[in-house]
């Protein structure tokens, strides 16, 4: 027996995914095109005993979900570009203190107020570099309503499993599009919860270096009485201000992501051995890419596609290897060329890399990709 089909928007799928993943706390501030997520969770959370709060701004929203996470709840916030910019400082704290939480950015065209109701993939680089200093980032980007549900659950799972904020990058198309979807049954959904300490409070170090680099995390009020700070700290959670501690912590924060690439790096591909052109895409743009590749194949062109569901960490090895097998990689994006920079960096001259870029609020049409496939093939 399966669940009944539903007609859901991407934003609504975030709501469903969050509830399914066990989210029990939302704090946010309204903004187009993400407000539907807040509205949905305002309704759904109390039904599941969870809490919804509308804060005075986005800075406070980000702070609030980190606080709730420290109290032990799976927590989430949702915003769009301007609000995402405002969340950056506290997002950096979340990464530093390793607070699991999910930050949704339903992208509209920026910079500034930009085109508030039009789709964009313009915040991809900001998701990686928006807060000051080096920092670990996981960012996922769904291309359909169904995938939005799937990746929302994954976002919470990664957040809990790797003890870090996870960014979910929708674009306005995915966020507002309605699709017929059949959600998996709750029992069929894999759920991860943060590791809890198994030692007594006396033996507890909140930032213990463990084999998997992920320190167990008690909730506030469980008697561990530990300290947390945005300063570089040692395993006790306290800053000593030494250079060694800074390097050690930073290396661990990065390692817990880099060493789990196989788990975190989600992608799908349809590349045949003899394909010469590959379209690499993500988010709503992916849909035009698949349409174009299918039509190109009908024309006998040796083309394939690769869909990145995880944008950050970037799958460097995958691209490096791919670049050796194909002649051309086409990267369509709803921005002036952001993820393509990573692709270029890692092909290291082995393949021709070509972008298709729209940053005016319109979509990239399948024909535009097909034309370029024909050109480079």
């Amino acid at each position: 027996m399966t669940n009944k089909a539903k007609l859901l928007q991407g934003d609504e799928a975030v709501v469903e995914g969050a509830i399914a993943a066990g989210a029990r706390f939302f704090a946010g501030y309204p903004i187009t095109p993400a407000s539907e997520i807040a509205e949905g969770l305002a309704e759904k959370l109390p039904i599941h005993g969870g809490k919804f709060i509308q804060m005075e701004d986005e800075l406070a929203s980000m702070a609030c979900i980190i606080g709730a996470s420290l109290s032990g709840l799976k927590s989430i916030t949702a915003t769009s570009g301007p609000g995402f910019s405002l969340k950056q400082e506290n997002l950096g704290l979340g990464m530093m203190i390793e607070a699991p939480c999910v930050v949704v950015n339903v992208q509209r065209v920026g910079p500034s107020t930009g085109l508030p109701t039009s789709p964009s993939q313009g915040d991809v680089m900001q998701a990686k570099w928006g807060t000051h200093g080096d920092h670990p980032v996981i960012a996922l980007a769904p291309s359909s309503v169904e995938e939005t549900f799937e990746l929302t659950v994954k976002a919470f799972n990664f957040a809990e499993r790797f003890r870090t904020p996870v960014i979910l990058l929708l674009d306005e198309i995915v966020g507002h599009m309605r699709e017929k979807v059949v959600l998996p049954k709750q029992d069929d959904i894999e759920i991860w919860d943060r590791k809890k300490p198994e030692v007594s409070s006396e033996d507890f170090n909140p930032y213990e270096e463990t084999e998997d680099h992920i320190p167990p995390m008690p909730a506030y009020g469980e008697g561990y009485r530990y300290h947390t700070t945005g300063l570089f700290h040692d395993k006790t959670g306290f800053p000593r201000g030494t250079n060694e501690d800074a390097k050690k912590l930073m290396d661990r924060l990065m390692a817990k992501i880099e060493e789990n690439m196989d788990i975190i790096s989600l992608y799908e591909k349809d590349i045949r051995d003899d394909d010469e052109v590959v379209v690499l895409a993500y988010g709503s743009t992916m849909r035009s890419a698949i349409n174009a590749v299918n039509r190109a194949r009908n024309e006998g062109i040796k083309a394939g596609w690769i869909k990145l569901k995880t944008l950050w960490p970037f799958p460097e090895e995958l691209i490096k290897n791919l670049s050796k097998d194909v002649n051309s990689i086409i990267v369509p994006e709803l921005n002036r060329g952001q993820l393509i920079k990573e692709v270029k960096e890692h092909v290291f001259g082995n393949a021709d890399v070509r972008g298709i870029n729209k940053y005016d609020g319109t979509l990239i049409k399948p024909d535009e990709i097909l034309d370029l496939i024909r050109e480079v093939k």
Binding site: A63, C64, G67, S71
Partner: protein
Amino acid sequence: MNYDIDRFFRQDKLPHIWCPGCGHGTIMANLARAIDKANLDPDKIVVVSGIGCSGRASGYMNFDTLHATHGRAIPFATGIKLANPELNVIVITGDGDGAAIGGNHLIHGGRRNIDLTVILMNNHIYGMTSGQFSPMTPTGANATTTPYGNIDQNFNLADLTKASGASFIARGTAFNTRQLIEIFNDGLLHKGFSFIEAISQCPVNYGRRNNIDTAVKMLEWQKESSVNIKKWNKLSDEEKKGKFPTGIIYKEDKREYTEMYQEIIDSVQKEA
């Protein structure tokens, strides 16, 4: 009364890093005494601070403690409290952290009347960053960013938080420690947003620049300037000049945020 406060401090972090005579130490110690007096379960206390010398307090107190970002302690605390209302959440902030960059969160916390106890250590200066003026630096005083004297006005934080909707408002001084313990105790036990301005002294970055160069002199100033609220209300405007009231300035029974939210949950879940 004998207070047992050693247990509330992380002994290995002491002596603390605050300068000799810094009022923050006195205020923190008396907060610990008030916690002792109020008999709160230390496992259920969370201390959240922002960034500043005042913000250092979270590192010394032996509870669950969060040293957050500059100005944002209240929204962090809001998430902590709403997620688990059985926690006693104490915010320690400074006049810069709480009244400059964090001003919006202060008034919105008050508006929601969420059950936090917010202690603002007001030393009238940005201590940690070496003496720039804060919204609480007296007009005319000297700070590193007021080479020609401060022209900014100050907030009256009691008035401001009262207007915001907070249901418990008090002011104490590092000088009058017995009153401070009482105020902290009452604020901790009050259900709702409790705002307590604790006048502190920064001999190093305020005193030195303003000809009151020792902690002792600064405490004397606190003594001379403070008037118990009971007496205050009888003073003429002339007599009030240069002085400020201390004690519990405002207290009101008012519905508390997390309780109201729990009612929503209860009623929604009953319906389902």
